[in-house]
Amino acid sequence: MAPKAKQLSLVDPSILRPAILESFKKLAPQLVAKNPVMFVVEIGSILTTAIWLRDVLSPSSGQAPTWFTLAVAIWLWFTVVFANFAEAVAEGRGKAQAETLRRMRQDTVARKVRFWPPTDDVPGISNEDIIPASRLKKGDLVIVDAGQVIPGDGEVIEGIASVDESAITGESAPVIRESGGDRSAVTGGTKVLSDRIVVRITVDPGESFLDRMIGLVEGAARQKTPNEIALHILLVGLTIVFLFACVTLVPMALYSGIRLGAPAVVALLVCLIPTTIGGLLSAIGIAGMDRLLRKNVLAMSGRAVEAAGDVDTLLLDKTGTITLGNRMATEILPAPGVRVEELADAAQLASLADETPEGRSIVVLLKEKHQLRGRETRGIAHFIPFSAQTRMSGCDLDQRHVRKGAVDAVGDYVKSQGGQMPEEMVQTAWKIADAGGTPLAVADGARFLGLIHLKDMVKGGIAERFARFRAMGIRTVMITGDNPRTAAAIARESGVDDFLAQATPETKMQLIKDEQGKGKLVAMTGDGTNDAPALAQADVGVAMNTGTQAAKEAGNMVDLDSDPTKLLEVVEVGKQLLMTRGTLTTFSIANDVAKYFAILPALFVGVFPELAPLNVMRLASPYSAILSAVVFNAIIIILLIPLALRGVRYRPLGAAALLRRSLLIYGVGGVIAPFVGIKIIDLGLAAIGLV
């Protein structure tokens, strides 16, 4: 893997140190104001600090001890700082990744082409301008030679080159980029290893993948996602409710003969409002993008990541995703009256010059199963290449006319030579097709020799992955150009839920629209230009980085590894993101129960000593109780930062089982944890003799 994909430890000092500094800088009110929950805490901190100053400067009777007010003030400030810290760490981790990329971009120079197509070179006048890569605009043409770095995202319009994309994808093997077709897109920052290409730049400065990636992971360009906004509203609403509950408590207490001090009321308020989730919410969002990037998927927006968690239907291309790219020969079936050796011999002859993977797999099969070694035929045999018209290939050697190809094509050939294809063989060919294979027929002149069974090899472990998806409630649909029989057989073998056979871009598009019409969210991967409309229509469209520019623009994610099975991980990251928010919200609200039992008796016990039984934790003193709750409230943010950054583990269980689990851990756990935590802090405070 490339350096950028290195797993940064959660406590990496290179991130923690600047994050600490950052978390104090973020105390600026205009920055905190973006997060209303934390803003309330900051106002509370300022208020408590002011009261402490007043108490120190002009002491009066009836006030809380100054050490108490100071301690509350400090821990309230810590609450804000800890929340800032969570955000800073999340941003820092993203920045660390972006930094490598940014460094790479800075020094690139571009050889911009002046005229295209080049006129006859006038000696002494160059057709190129050397300009910094950052000044390239959309539509500019640049020349890149071997050993040079491609200055910006673009499209190869002339030439073919091998390109090292490891900086972006982490994959060390070079890839081929050529003009035209589906492999024309190049990414800025990657390096040409051989040959020379001319690239048309397709993005304006500041809009390249690198720029977008940097902006997104650093959190600068981050916009709140729809679901985050909804949660935000819930948190703000709860904050307002508790603000009122605490403010109105002052006159109610006054009626009861209790003068509540501002620090105590502020402490109660801060403990009740959802500071835990409020403080970690933006860190969770940033970390989600970051996790996706770690998997080498670049999301164009947080909205897309969220949508990935909601996906109901996955459209997966058969080739490369469900099956290994190529069909392989698995057996040879001689026609009645033909010896196996005879068929094997002919099959080998017909395949020796066939450089397609299928052809090579036949040679390999014959060598392994039938001990038929390769032989030198060059010069003595006349090879007939495959053509779309004849749908056959083969060779003429001596008086033999060996042919192999599609069953009907070879059948016609045999007939034209005066022979006949045995009826049994027709049946066998059907059977092979039914089982998901492709039958190839072999003939020698008028003699039909037999069949070769070519099989699509389903990737190992894919059936288990689909089972996981089924458990999540996601339906998988295989897209293939095969005929329905073959498609059905592969679908059966791979465990995919459904398939679309003989797919064309139009039928694919129609399938997406149909699914969406049923109210489902559809995800798909694609790479070719003809995938672009479908990628744009799908709710989550993951374009392969090797794909065309059109495909990349149409999708809302780009997989830098160009691995179609990545879609599965994308979905998990999306789900994780929502689950982390949900569980921490539940935890945050459940915490309030214990905090009430800590703070309320402490507030009233002076006037109503009969309330002592409500102090179920048997906290040492009222001051200790309030302080312990505030300290717990601040520390829990720090303790939960790793969870917020890593995300709650996603398990492919049904929704009900998942919910039961989360409720048990974060709901019930959220009620119990603070009882224990506050008691421990209280014991600690008592042990150091503070209270």
Binding site: A230, G519, I589, L614, L663
Partner: protein, 574 residues
């Protein structure tokens, strides 16, 4: 606590449960069916009403139009009732020659009946004429109940309707919902119900008050009036405004244990049946039963606590040797009903925002009094007022689904419809208004002399009384901790505002929610969607209702009933 007491409670739930499906199915036919029942009788009246009012029943309304119709209708209702009260001395059917009702009180009463609260700052026997009772107040008992059902219907439509080209953004027609509720449901049931009450001994006449000599030789004036006709809709429409000041504790309003039992059942009948109607609208009865179960769990918890608290000694009197308290806390209860039926009645009436009482809540033990108070503060969603409980509970459902939905890793969706920022905004608005009203008014009343001077009790119980009054107002319940003299300009106006805001400002987000959900795309349910019709959801819904309610009011409650309980146990009285 006695076996016969428990039998009454179990029997009550059994009867309510048995009524749920038939009444719910009937209401589904009335409101959502292709053809309404009894077209010859009801259909004629219905069509005649539409013609008379110029209503096109086929015309759907969008949510703003629906909300405006409801508000305009209610506003007009306030004006008419206010007018009748102010002019009753010159209007007929006033055999006692009662004077015009004072302006502040008249406004309070008009607001109270329009909002289905039936908070009574007045003493009916000496304040309002028969005409005011019948035309000014009972009229609202029908229409405010019908308006509540209407809002429940629109939010149910919003959540359950599959977006189609025909439906669009319309959520029904307020006038149609109002007329159908009244003609098909409320009027016919009330008619037979009133006859039953008369059979039990409830009065129904227009006679002047009668002076009688009692067995002890004392002269006593017995108030008369058209009680039974009013009593039926008072219970059925969860209105709760008594014809007499003593409400359902009065022997002419609620004479027998049987009438008491039927009155309790009639409070829950429509709210309970609406859950079935809802399940039918959602094309999944279990969705409706899940709501029913959540409501029942909360209700049973309340009854058991209240019955338990009242069956024990008053903690303040505990340990006094000369007192025999084996019978429990009987202060303020009618012996013809007993502890069990009083505890059940108090729970049912506060669960359902009815507000009729057959015992004095003010005389309950501190923990016994906490139950009705908390029932109201949970938002009147435990069955709740007719319709009001339904839409309140559905808002809580939306909140629950949101929190739980996140935890399963999907954008939260309910019945296949996504819950997004706009719905959260409306749900939070609904949830916010309620505590804001109660807490601010209570805090205000507690620190000003014109607020505290109305109290008959000092200390925590006084706080409970004021807290109860504003909770009852905002929750549109109408029952009271009666130790508070609420007929003062401050309380009349503050409580009127409390009731109006608590009714209409909460209805608007609910109607808007319907509008925002109605045309959302429906995602078919799969194993990845979180089921909202199972016991797990019921448990979760109950927790959310409890947490939102309890967490908000716990500080205030701890200075009221909670302190009172602990202090009384320690022998301290105020």
């Amino acid at each position: 606590m006695t076996a016969i007491g428990w039998v009454q409670i179990v029997l009550f739930f059994a009867v309510v449960l048995a009524l749920t499906k038939p009444l719910g199915a009937y209401m589904f036919r009335v409101f959502e069916g292709e053809r309404q029942p009894l077209p010859r009788v009801f259909g004629r009246i219905e069509r005649f009403t539409y013609r008379l009012c110029g209503v096109d029943p086929a015309q759907g309304q969008t949510w703003p139009v629906y909300a405006f119709s409801l508000l305009a209708f209610s506003f007009l209702g306030v004006l008419v009732t206010y007018g009748i009260e102010r002019l009753q001395h010159v209007l007929p059917l006033n055999p006692q020659h009662l004077a015009a009702v004072e302006p502040a009180l008249a406004f309070n009463t008009a607001a109270s009946f329009t909002t289905n609260t039936n908070w009574q700052a007045y003493v009916p026997e000496t304040t309002v004429s028969y005409l005011t009772q019948m035309a000014g107040l009972a009229w609202h008992n029908f229409t405010s109940a019908a308006a509540g059902i209407a809002v429940a219907l629109v939010i149910a439509r919003g959540l359950t309707r599959k977006a189609g080209p025909l439906a669009g953004k319309t959520i029904g027609n307020f006038w149609v919902d109002l007329v159908r509720s009244t003609i098909y449901v409320l009027l016919p049931i009330s008619f037979f119900y009133a006859l039953f009450l008369v059979s039990q001994g409830v009065l129904q006449n227009l006679l002047p008050y009668r002076e009688v000599t009692t067995l002890e030789g004392v002269k006593q004036v017995l108030a008369m009036g058209p009680v039974a006709s009013q009593e039926a809709i008072k219970m059925l429409g969860t209105n709760g405004g008594g014809f007499f000041n003593a409400n359902s504790a009065h022997p002419f309003e609620n004479p027998t244990p049987l009438s008491n039992f039927v009155q309790m059942v009639s409070i829950f009948a429509i709210p309970s049946a609406l859950t079935w109607t809802y399940g039918r609208m959602a094309r999944d009865q279990r969705q409706g039963w899940a709501l029913w179960a959540a409501m029942a769990v909360l209700c049973i918890a309340g009854v058991v606590t209240l019955y338990w608290a009242e069956a024990h000694d008053n903690p303040a009197l505990h340990g006094l040797a000369q007192l025999q308290q084996g019978c429990g806390n009987f202060e303020g209860k009618e012996t013809r009903f007993g502890l069990s039926a009083s505890a059940l009645f108090a729970t049912v009436t506060t669960d359902a925002s009815c507000g009729a009482v057959n015992a004095m809540h003010d005389s309950f033990t501190p923990l016994g009094g906490l139950v009705p108070l908390l029932n109201i503060q949970l938002g009147e969603v435990i069955f709740g007022g007719v319709g009001a409980g339904m839409y309140g509970m559905l808002i809580f459902v939306v909140l629950t689904v949101f929190i739980a939905g996140l935890m399963v890793g999907r954008t939260p969706e309910y019945l296949g419809k996504k819950i997004e920022a706009r719905e959260m905004k409306l749900a939070m608005l609904y949830v916010l208004i309620f505590p804001l009203l109660i807490l601010s008014f209570t805090a205000w009343a507690l620190v000003v002399p014109y607020g505290v001077s109305s109290l008959n009790n000092a200390g925590p119980h006084g706080l409970s009384e004021i807290l109860y009054a504003f909770s009852s107002g905002a929750g549109n319940n109408g029952s009271a901790f009666a130790g508070l003299n609420a007929n003062t300009p401050f309380y009349n106006l503050a409580l009127a505002a409390d009731m109006l805001v608590g009714r209409f400002l909460m209805m608007i987000p609910a109607i808007a929610m319907a509008g925002s959900m109605v045309d959302k795309k429906v995602t078919p349910a799969g194993p990845g969607t979180f089921p909202t019709n199972g016991s797990l959801f019921v448990g979760l819904l109950v927790s959310v209702v409890l947490i939102v309610g309890a967490l908000t009011f716990f500080p205030a409650l701890s200075l009221g009933p909670v302190v009172e309980h602990f202090a009384a146990g320690a022998g301290r009285v105020f």
